[in-house]
């Protein structure tokens, strides 16, 4: 079943500022879906529509079959939200925050167990006004988990978290999905999405550029892995033209470098270099980084090139 269904969603501010422009995608139940894009791409606006904080100009969004606007209470009964750009109540303690969420959601969660799960049980009796950014984020995550929601919506959840906090966050997201829940994970940091998400949607400038698995994204971009074979002497008669998936081979005094667009080409390439009469001293494999993938989709780094082409 579809957990989140966004159809031709458009949110326009004023006459011509499109925060989100005709975006459509589905998130399946039980998956961790990464929602990726640079700041200002429209991720939060999409989430704001899902949570009925803002109303769409056109199109619709629904969660577990409930329209986000017409049936907001039903949606909220099933969704836990860690919003972006929020703040908590300075004068309430951590425990009181969870109790407040319990009362509003009609849930009966043990506040201490939940605070322990997000790692701030020792600060349960301190007021949130004295919390660090990371502790605040952990408390907000605990509030999102109140009532064991079917769908967890996390908007930039790793902001303010230290590496340990990010690891805890990933564990919580994966556990949630393992229990059959759905996680909608929005971030501008690609490595965090890569680490937890089954599929990723990339948003750029209000438009959805692609939806795919991480592996699928790699394939689609088609930038192969760069294999650098360090040798003791240049190979004399290297025969690689027939290796499928191997391109752009260059030979220098102490190394042979090739680009493997097929994973199987790597070992064959190394074997051929050894067969060519040199001793292999080292092998380095450089997978295309996801940052490059991201850049390829959002045109952040290649903007200059593109302008040249257009000119």
């Amino acid at each position: 079943m579809t957990a989140i269904d966004v159809q031709n969603l458009t949110k326009r501010y004023g006459d011509d500022v499109y925060a989100v422009d005709d975006v459509s995608f589905q998130v399946r139940e039980g998956e961790v879906f990464g929602f990726l894009g640079p700041n200002g791409a429209g991720k939060s606006t999409t989430i704001d529509v899902l949570m009925d904080y803002v109303r769409p100009t056109a199109g619709s969004a629904s969660v577990l079959g409930y329209d986000a606007q017409a049936s907001a209470p039903e949606v909220h009964d099933r969704v836990g939200i860690l919003p972006d750009g929020y703040s908590l109540y300075d004068r309430l303690t951590g425990r009181e925050h969870v109790e407040f969420a319990n009362d509003l959601k009609g849930a009966d969660e043990d506040p201490d167990a939940l605070l322990d799960r997000v790692g701030i049980l020792d600060a349960a009796d301190r007021t949130a006004g004295g919390y660090s950014k990371g502790m605040t984020q952990r408390l907000a995550l605990a509030m999102a988990l109140v009532g064991d929601p079917e769908v967890l919506v996390l908007d930039e959840p790793s902001s303010g978290l230290d590496p340990e906090g990010i690891r805890d966050l990933r564990t919580i997201a994966r556990d949630h999905a393992a229990d059959g829940g759905t996680v909608f994970f929005s971030s501008h940091v690609l490595s965090q999405v890569e680490a937890v998400c089954d599929r990723v949607g990339i948003l750029d400038d209000g438009r959805l550029v692609t939806v795919d698995t991480i592996d699928g994204l790699r394939d689609a971009v088609g930038t192969g892995a760069t294999v650098t074979v360090t040798v003791d002497a240049p190979p004399r008669d290297l025969a690689v033209d027939d290796v499928p998936g191997l391109v752009d081979v260059t030979v220098t005094d102490d190394a042979v470098v090739g680009t493997c667009v097929e994973p199987t080409a790597k070992l064959v390439f190394i074997d051929r270099v050894r067969d060519a009469g040199c001793t292999v001293l080292d092998v380095g494999i450089d997978d295309p980084s996801l940052e490059e993938l991201f850049a390829a989709y959002t045109h952040r780094d290649v903007g200059a090139t593109r302008r040249e082409v257009e000119a």
Binding site: Y13, D48, M51, Y53, H76, G85, L92, F100, A101, A144
Partner: protein, 278 residues
């Protein structure tokens, strides 16, 4: 009952923030001092009811300030800080949020006013050698009603305003118009209709116009309450020449106060429920 949860949090937050104690101290001092004025001013006959009357005249101006300050940030403040995103994440019904905010802040103001009046009753009773309990209780209840009306107005403003600044501007505007400048309306109307400022007795419509603001309705109701317990004091229509028109009835002014509570709240809710929380 989510509105109760929100109201309870509002109330507890106000107690924690010592806002409610500020209200208590201010009101206690104000009532105690103004109720003693007739004792020290030689022209008045030092009667406890005229002392309480003086206190209510001051309350008609002070209570709106107290209520507006206590409630103008109820929703606009949360919108500016971003905690509204957490709150609406837990309770998306905006009407429930507005209702909970109103009930919570109204309780803060009502409790503050009641305790403040109760504290002020002690020096007043000592100075006059007694206190008319029924009239005093009526005055406290009416003062609470005035406070609640302005909380309704302030929460309505707060719901409609996107920012702190706008809420403050609207709040100050509402105070100036309704608590300070309203009296100019009947005065001006009298000048236009009769060609002169009112002197001595006034027409019935003049009294009605005076009582159409929350503070005006409050003053009229205080007059009615005091008159009910002590007939020698003039009632609502005391200044009207001849037989007073039927519309100068206390229920009309109760309705005025109720409308000033509900209508701004409703208008604020409608605006809030349609707005984008970007």
């Amino acid at each position: 009952m989510s509105w109760r949860v929100i109201a309870r949090r509002e109330y507890r937050d106000a107690v924690h923030s010592s806002l409610v104690w500020g209200v208590v101290a201010l009101v206690a001092a104000m009532v105690a001092v103004t109720s003693l004025v007739p004792l020290v001013v030689p022209q008045f006959d030092g009667d406890v009811l005229s002392g309480l009357g003086a206190a209510t005249e001051f309350a008609a101006m002070l209570v709106p300030v107290v209520a507006l300050v206590a409630a103008y940030l109820a929703i606009a403040g949360e919108r500016e800080s971003g905690s509204i995103r957490v709150l609406l994440g837990l309770e998306p019904r905006r009407g429930t949020v507005v209702l909970g905010k109103f009930v919570g802040r109204a309780a803060v103001v009502a409790v503050g006013l009641t305790v403040g009046f109760a504290l002020a009753a002690v020096p007043t009773a000592i100075a006059y050698g007694g206190l008319p309990v029924v009239a005093f209780a009526g005055i406290v209840a009416l003062t609470c009603a005035l406070g609640v009306a302005f909380v309704g107005l302030a929460v309505g403003i707060s719901a409609a305003a996107a920012t702190r600044g706008r809420a403050m501007t609207l709040g100050i505007g509402a105070y100036l118009a309704l608590a300070l400048l309203w009296d100019l309306v009947p005065q001006g109307a009298h000048l236009v209709a009769e060609g002169a400022a009112p002197a001595g007795s006034v027409p019935g419509w003049f009294v009605l116009l005076q009582g159409l603001s929350p503070s005006g309705a409050y003053s009229a109701l205080v007059q009615a309450a005091v008159h009910a317990t002590e007939p020698s004091y003039p009632g609502i229509a005391g200044a009207v020449a001849g037989s007073p028109p039927t519309y100068l009835h206390w229920t009309v002014f109760v309705a005025v106060l109720a409308l000033w509570t509900a209508l701004p709240l409703l208008a604020g809710y409608v605006t809030f429920s349609r707005s984008d929380l970007g």
